[in-house]
């Protein structure tokens, strides 16, 4: 029973580490009436202290490296990090740029990668479902 406690109540904190806002808008689109993530008990929260999932977008600019680490440490366990969009997964078009510290998994451990530029809301929802599974496995251990 304890393992299932997390799967229908995920609170998501969204971190933008230098994204162009494309992915961010798709995340908001997943909350709209058409996709309605809230029906699965998922909601966006304003503080990393409340979060179960860190939804990170962007290629991590030099300025954001420290802050991303800090936000990761501020999030209470058990937690899952989702990297949304090609920039976060592989730094995308900013590959080998001088002011980029990413991709995200070089700074914090990433559990789920969602590909796309930007990813469709369906892809983000699919990623969140995988986050449930990951959290359940974490709890079992």
């Amino acid at each position: 029973m304890k393992a299932k406690a997390l799967n229908r109540s995920l609170w998501v904190f969204h971190v933008n580490t230098g994204s162009c806002n494309g992915c961010d808008i798709e995340i908001v689109a997943a909350m709209t009436p058409r996709y309605d993530l809230e029906r699965f008990g998922i909601k966006l929260v304003g503080s990393p202290r409340h979060a179960d999932v860190l939804l990170v977008t962007g290629p991590v600019t030099r300025d954001m490296k420290k802050k991303l680490k800090l936000i990761y440490d501020q999030t209470p366990d058990p937690k899952v990090v989702m990297s949304v969009g090609n920039c976060g997964n592989s730094t995308g078009v900013f590959y080998e740029s001088y002011n980029i510290e990413g991709p995200i998994d070089r700074i914090v451990p990433v559990d789920i990668y969602v590909a796309g530029c930007p990813p469709r809301p369906e892809a983000i929802i699919d990623g969140v479902v995988k986050a449930w599974k990951k959290l359940e496995e974490m709890k079992k251990k």
Partner: protein
Amino acid sequence: MTLTTVLLMSVPLALLCLLLGLIYKGIDRRLGARMQARTGPPVMQPLRDIRKLMLKENIVPKHAVPWLFSLMPVVALGSTLALLMYVPLFGQAPLLGSYGDMVSVLYMLLIPSLTLVIGGFVSSSPYAVVGAQREMVTMISYEFPLAITIVAFAWLASVAAPGSAAFAFSTFSAVPVWSMTSILGSCGLIILFAVMIVVTSGEMGAVPFDAAEAETEIAGGLLSEYSGRNLALFYMASAVKMVVLGSVIIALFLPFGISGYAGLEGMAAQAADAGFFLLKLFAVIFAASTFPRVAVPRLRITQIVKMYWVYATAAAIIGLTLIGIDVLVEAI
């Protein structure tokens, strides 16, 4: 009521109202979603959220005052549960009705908000401090129209039902306030009813008045440093507070039962009245929380102050004046 009955009744009552508050929160979320053409979470969602929060790590920030930081959520839940003993619930007289009246409830209602404020100040986050200051300002704002309403009720009771305790809830459950006045006074009462609904919105921290907890601008405000068990306690406190505030409005303005009309007696009558109470509570919560949340965006803190100190206070004084004229005319 003897001490043993109070002790025996209080724990089940507290648990029942806690469950009720959480379910009402779920209905509130679901209905809000339906009004936005979404499906919305299941009604049991707040219970799931609580269960999850209990499993999470409980972080106390490095620069916070640890004992105050961890004490405040407990005090918040404890004080709201204690409030349940002083307000009439399910069409019954309050458990400790002879020990407290409207004025004591008015004062005790401050404690949950104060715990939020203290918790915000000691949590060492600038966001929480800003949230705490906003919460204090909101508290100061809605107290004035609320006090005017209570004075109006006491005035009415002292004239219409002389000899009874003017501030006691039992006075108004025995004789509904609407039967104490004629047309003019009823107009005043309707105005006060509207003012009380707006005040309740503010006390619940419902959306147009939630500048203290604004997620999108100050990262959750007061609660921004709370996580895990502490956050769950605050969440439960706000659920119970919703029930308390709803019952205060019901006790003052809608103390009607349906058992008299249905011709029921004994246990059946009590059950019918309890069911009707749940319906009234839903209506009050819908009017004070769900509807404004969907219909109106968040107000700035300056607008909240203006809303209460200018508009709500003016409306409450007009209501009080109408009732006063009514009372004086009746006296002649």
